[in-house]
């Protein structure tokens, strides 16, 4: 009898232990740090979009609404395939990593987004008047093709990057992304070039196109020149230089903020 009671007590103890373990909070499986969205973001996105998605060469992602990715599917597609016609490349990530990365990008929208400072309307007036920006840049077809088109610059660049471009244009000149677009022969970095033809003419402008045997350049007047390289005596490429002036000498501080506010507002809408 005593033996039966002992066995019964043992069974009860075992049951209690089982119930205790069952109700005990389960340890959460730890994701590998390499696999987490944050790590993937640092590896693939932060260089352009900023360490916390605050924007830079690429647009800010710390915003509640991603204009180009209004659904999960569209965000997946952008991460995997990039955005045609922009510097945004595709990133080959596996299915689980894609989900983690997309989730992390979405989480950036819960952070404090960039403050909407400056008077965009006043900035627009300054852009077309005192700033004389349209003499080189175009917005929705208005202006010159000498420098990058700004019609959707607010989708492509962060506020801080735009301010830097105005204050120190040569700090971060447009970069060539040719290698991200296999098969595309159109250059896109507005590289300043100077040529001397075999008959002694000196011409300078921005590179419009270049291939193995030819080069096109556009003068600030808008005139486009086409050369076979074999026709040239000299060909100089001014890497890292910009023909854009330092706007600290042209606009006041509050005016610069307003121009940046205008540029940030440019989202491709006409």
């Amino acid at each position: 009898m005593l033996r039966l009671i002992t066995i019964f007590k043992f069974q009860i103890s075992l049951l209690c232990l089982g119930l205790f373990l069952f109700w005990l909070p389960q340890p959460v499986p730890q994701k590998s740090p390499n696999d987490s969205g944050a790590k993937l973001f640092q590896a693939h996105c932060a260089a352009c979009h900023g360490q916390k998605g605050e924007g830079g060469t690429g647009p800010t992602l710390a915003t509640p609404k991603l204009i180009r990715a209004d659904s999960e599917a569209s965000l997946f597609k952008i991460i995997r395939e990039g955005i045609a016609g922009t510097e945004m490349p595709g990133t080959r990530v596996e299915a689980e990593q894609l989900k983690n990365l997309a989730a992390y990008v979405r989480s950036l929208g819960q952070l404090q987004s960039e403050k909407n400072i400056g008077d965009a309307e006043r900035g627009k007036k300054l852009y077309f008047s005192k700033g004389e920006c349209a003499s080189c840049h175009a917005i929705n077809g208005e202006g010159s093709a000498y420098a990058p088109d700004l019609s959707e610059i607010g989708l492509r660049r962060g506020r801080q990057h735009l301010m830097t471009s105005l204050l120190a244009p040569q700090a971060d000149v447009p970069k060539s992304y040719l290698q991200l677009r296999a098969g595309t022969a159109i250059t896109d970095n507005f590289l300043l070039v100077r040529v001397v033809t075999k008959d002694g003419k000196k011409i300078s402008g921005v590179r419009v196109n270049e291939d193995t045997f030819t080069i096109h350049l556009r003068e600030i007047s808008g005139r486009v020149h086409s050369f076979f390289k074999s026709e040239l005596l000299e060909l100089h490429k001014d890497w890292g230089k910009s023909s854009m002036p330092d706007y600290r000498k042209i606009l006041e501080h509050d005016e610069l903020i307003d121009v940046v506010a205008y540029l940030v507002s440019l989202r491709g809408e006409k």
Partner: protein, 540 residues
């Protein structure tokens, strides 16, 4: 009556023998591509009988009608537009005036070599759910006797009648749902069709197969990743061999005298994260020498042990003979994706020489056995590790060429293309990408392509010709003293084989990602290259 009977009998007899003569003539002279003809391809430069032009893979044309003195007058004769859009990587075969091309996806067409008019087309349906790493290209066909052989994207080997394009047989080489695809041209040797496999980014276990040309029955299989107990299995940890990659997606070479097949293998899987595959990972990134009769391994040479960069050794190996250190040797040479040029003894696999031919920052050099001496801190990392060359490599699958006249090895390489190599975790799922990282370009850097002429025995550079962009296009040297090549912008061009001076170019309008060939019909030489969806043929 009797006389009439005799006359009719004689008439029938003459008719019979006339037909017999015609049949014998036709069978022996038209589109009957015997092994002996391929083996002696140098005797018929008017044709292009195998992927690289010869078993030695010289991609050299001994035709001289188009040469340095007149190439400036070269003009397009015809263009054939492929029936389906997509990049074209095919090398046409040419047999007695007809071209045979593989189009995308799995369309084979016979064309009149003088006019580009099609004679027949074979079309096959590819399942919609085939997954490959890098588009759906096909690089060409093999021919033996009266049969054409096609490797399909869903990993079948297909045999077609050369006269009609009708299907003779169709066999499954591997299960595409497990990540296997086929993109390369088969290699037809004496009594076998050798086929390689792709799928190194999807965790396949690579192999090379030999098939009976008549029945499609598999004769042998060589696994490029050994299973436990086999030679080389000690270079894989755990079960990593099961998904070890080492694909064989570019056509190899063959030495009939030694009866050895030489074939390159690709990256171990996963590509950029080697944590699960501790060891050298044989026989990935290697050149294999296999007995053609049995598929047994004669020797191997591994270029990039425990590769973490996707530097496949899927380049066409080139067979030459030459004097090394005072001794005449049978050699095999290759410009590898890892940026080194190698000279090996093709009888034994002995490493003889190796030098970098473009900028590289991952290795201090090669040791006496040809094994790379890696520099520290060159492994892919979470934050990215910057290295030259990038994952596209110094060169890729695009064919090199060797000229017996100049003794130079020509290769289209890429320069100034560093990349950040990333490492991520990855889990194997059959038929899915299994890569563990990737490469990232550096904005602002403009990589470029470059045709390099190297001394074939030393790897020393003789000249280079810069292209605006990197390109996966091959080159072809000719006895006319020329080197033909393609560019990303769409230029087809001819260079002086001795100096690299550009002598002619033609803008074909779209990216060139294939290899040139040359052939002749009725004494007229042509050169051909694909650009975009078009096959362009030029002559004087």
């Amino acid at each position: 009556m009797r006389q009439h009977f005799s006359h009719a009998k004689a008439q029938r007899r003459i008719g019979f023998y006339s037909c017999l003569v015609v049949i014998i003539f036709t069978v022996t002279n038209f589109a009957q591509v015997s092994y002996e003809r391929i083996r002696s391809s140098e005797l018929e430069p008017q044709n292009w009988l195998t992927y690289s032009g010869s078993f030695q893979s010289h991609r050299f044309s001994s035709l001289t009608q188009i040469n340095k003195t007149n190439v400036a007058q070269l003009k397009p004769f015809w263009v054939y537009q492929m029936r389906d859009p997509g990049k074209v990587e095919t090398t046409p075969l040419v047999v007695d005036g007809l071209l045979y091309i593989s189009e995308k996806p799995h369309v084979v067409t016979a064309l009149d070599g003088r006019t580009g008019r099609p004679l027949w087309t074979y079309r096959r349906t590819t399942p919609a759910d085939v997954k490959g790493c890098c588009g759906t290209p096909n690089r060409g066909l093999a021919i033996l006797d009266e049969t054409l052989y096609l490797c399909t994207f869903d990993a079948h080997l297909v045999a077609l009648d050369i006269h009609s394009g009708k299907l003779k047989w169709d066999v499954v080489v591997a299960d595409y749902k497990a990540g296997y695809t086929m993109t390369g041209a088969p290699l037809a040797i004496k009594d076998k069709i050798i086929v390689g496999i792709a799928g190194g980014e999807l965790g396949i276990r690579g192999f090379l197969d030999a098939y009976d040309p008549k029945t499609g029955k598999r004769i042998w299989k060589f696994w490029t990743v050994p299973e436990p107990g086999e030679k080389g299995s000690e270079t894989w940890s755990g079960d990593s061999w099961k998904t070890g990659g080492a694909p064989t997606w570019v056509t190899g070479s063959y030495d009939p005298a030694l009866n050895l097949i030489y074939w390159g293998t690709g990256n171990p899987a996963p590509d950029w994260n080697g944590d699960s595959r501790v060891g050298d990972n044989l026989f990935s990134d290697s050149l294999l020498a296999l007995d053609a009769d049995t598929g047994k391994l004669k020797w191997y040479f591994q270029f990039t042990p425990h590769d973490l960069y996707d530097w496949d050794a899927n380049q066409v190996p080139v067979i030459i003979d030459g004097n090394i250190n005072g001794r005449n040797r049978k050699l095999i040479v290759t410009a590898n994706r890892n940026a080194f040029y190698y000279v090996l003894d093709r009888v034994t696999g002995e490493f003889l020489r190796g030098v970098p031919y473009i900028k590289q920052t991952w290795g201090k050099g090669l040791d006496d056995k040809g094994r790379p001496i890696k520099l520290p801190n060159t492994e892919p990392s979470v934050e990215g590790t910057l290295l030259y060359p990038g994952l596209g490599g110094a060169t890729n699958w695009n064919s090199p060429s060797y000229s017996p006249q100049t003794k130079l090895f020509y290769v289209l390489a890429r320069e100034n293309h560093p990349q950040y190599f990333f490492k991520t975790d990855t889990i194997y799922h059959a038929g899915e990408f299994f890569e563990g990282g990737g490469g990232r370009d550096i904005p602002g850097i403009e990589p470029y392509g470059v045709v390099k002429a190297l001394d074939a025995l030393t790897g020393q550079q003789k000249w280079e010709f810069k292209l605006q962009l990197p390109v996966m296009a091959g080159v072809m040297a000719t006895a006319g003293g020329l080197v033909f090549g393609g560019s990303s912008e769409g230029y087809f061009y001819a260079l002086d084989a001795l100096t690299g001076k550009p002598l002619w170019n033609f803008m074909a309008g779209a990216q060139i990602v294939t290899n040139p060939i040359s052939y002749s019909i009725r004494g007229k030489q042509y050169v051909a290259i694909s650009s975009g969806n078009g096959l362009f043929v030029f002559g004087l």
